[in-house]
Amino acid sequence: MKIKERISELQDFYLLSTRGLLGAVRKPFYFKDMIEQMDYAGAGSFIIIILVSLFIGMALSLQLAAELSSLGLKMYTGKIVGISIIREIGPVAAALVFAGRVGSGMASELGSMILGHQIDSLRVFGVDPIKKLVTPRILSSIVMLPALTIIGDVVSLFGGYYIAVFVSHQSGTFYWSSIRDVLTFENVFAGAAKPFIFGYLIACISCYMGFSTKGGSKGLRTSTTRAVVVSIVMIIVSDFILTRILLYVLGFSV
């Protein structure tokens, strides 16, 4: 019975994710809802992404500068900060923040709509809740998370720069030139491909959890928590898988 339930849950999740995405190419389109979601997910997360990225960049640079200077390799700080931020830490950090802020919001909003029978109302009015609610959320996440990731990357690099130059007393020009060396197609692609997938995953998981809410305010608590926890785990697991695939595709030898 348990296994059967799990399988049917997975099936529902799969259906929601595909139908949610297909909604982007099938009428009717809900532009207004999408703009509203983009505003909430993107513009609303702007400040927190900047804050988090700045401190991650600074801490990373500080750690590396400390370790590398004891080896006499301080000049590599920029290169290592650049690679780790662009390829790995930037996308993951932005996605985690996004899951915590936007994913939880989606799950609790949809969950309370379920509990208030508002989704039933939509269905009765002949509106497909997936198209009206899920598609705009998926699309806005797919657009906004990559944008936020790029902004976060840039801010992180500036944070790293601040530490390298003003705390570790390295040459600023050299820092930027090593960053520029890092900005190859392979590196940028490896970092930029991830947030699209993360955004899609976060939106699908959160919407699914919201839709499967039952059992009053406690149920809402459970589904919001599950949305964030499952999103976070999936981000980290899929990050590993994506890294493996991307490194292989882009021809890096490990």
Partner: protein, 243 residues
């Protein structure tokens, strides 16, 4: 237009409907009566295809809807207009946007026309002054009335479904809503009202279906109901005699 043919329905192990059959035609005014938790709301949800029966057939206008896809069900649902028990207004939209929801979704009216229409609908239910409020700023009765206004905006339903439209309202407002419901189906459109207030039901409906323990205990017109000797129904009738 609505046929329930040996419908069974359960939530998990809890059997709500056991072998329920009835036929309701398009212009009938029916009240579904029964105690709290007997499955009255469940019947409405089954009619709309929001939930599916475990066994049996539900036929709407000659089509069996028990196995239809969401897309096909949409057309079936357009034949009805429902007011949910909880009102189920969209709580992130204000009263005006709630009522305008269907108009925006299905008609190409201009902003002015929508505004006009919304005000007119709100005037019918008597909550015009609340047009700018949010649903959580409304009282229970106002909430219900806005929900009725919103259901009226839906495109020309063949039949109205009301789930506990008058429950929890003061007698004055309950009466207003009863009159409103009657008014709306004046031109021969049918309605199903679900309630446990028999007093309001006899004002509106011509036919009464009484649910008990998942089966239909009684199905008949007003006279039959008033002279029924079934003990459960007599308890309800005391309410009518008293008033």
């Amino acid at each position: 237009m609505i046929v329930f043919d040996k419908v069974w329905f359960s939530y998990g192990l809890h059997h709500v409907l056991k072998d329920v059959s009835f036929t309701i035609s398009e212009n009938e005014r029916v009240a579904i009566l029964g105690e709290s938790g007997e499955g009255k709301t469940t019947i409405l949800k089954l009619i709309l295809g929001l939930i599916r029966p475990d066994a049996g057939k539900i036929i709407i206008d000659g089509e069996d809807i028990s196995n239809k896809s969401e897309d096909e069900l949409r057309k079936v649902r357009m034949k009805f207009s429902i007011v949910f028990q909880e009102g189920a207004l969209f709580d992130s939209l204000n009263v005006k946007e709630n009522v305008a929801f269907c108009l925006r979704e299905y008609s190409k009216l201009s902003e002015d026309e929508i505004d006009h229409k919304v005000r007119e609908l709100l005037r019918i239910v008597g909550v015009e002054h609340a047009i700018e409020l949010m649903p959580d700023e409304l009282s229970g009765g106002m909430h219900r009335r806005v929900a009725i206004a919103r259901s009226l905006a839906a495109c020309e339903p063949k039949m109205f479904l009301y789930d506990e439209a008058t429950t929890g309202l003061d007698p004055v407002n309950a009466d207003i809503i009863c009159k409103l419901i009657l008014d709306l189906s004046k031109n021969g459109r049918g309605l199903i009202i679900v309630t446990h207030k028999i007093f309001d039901a006899v004002k509106i409906a011509k036919r009464f279906i009484f649910l008990k323990d998942g089966i239909i205990l009684f199905d008949g017109d007003k006279d039959d109901l008033l002279h029924s000797t079934i003990p459960e129904i007599q308890i309800y009738l005391n309410e009518v005699n008293f008033s």
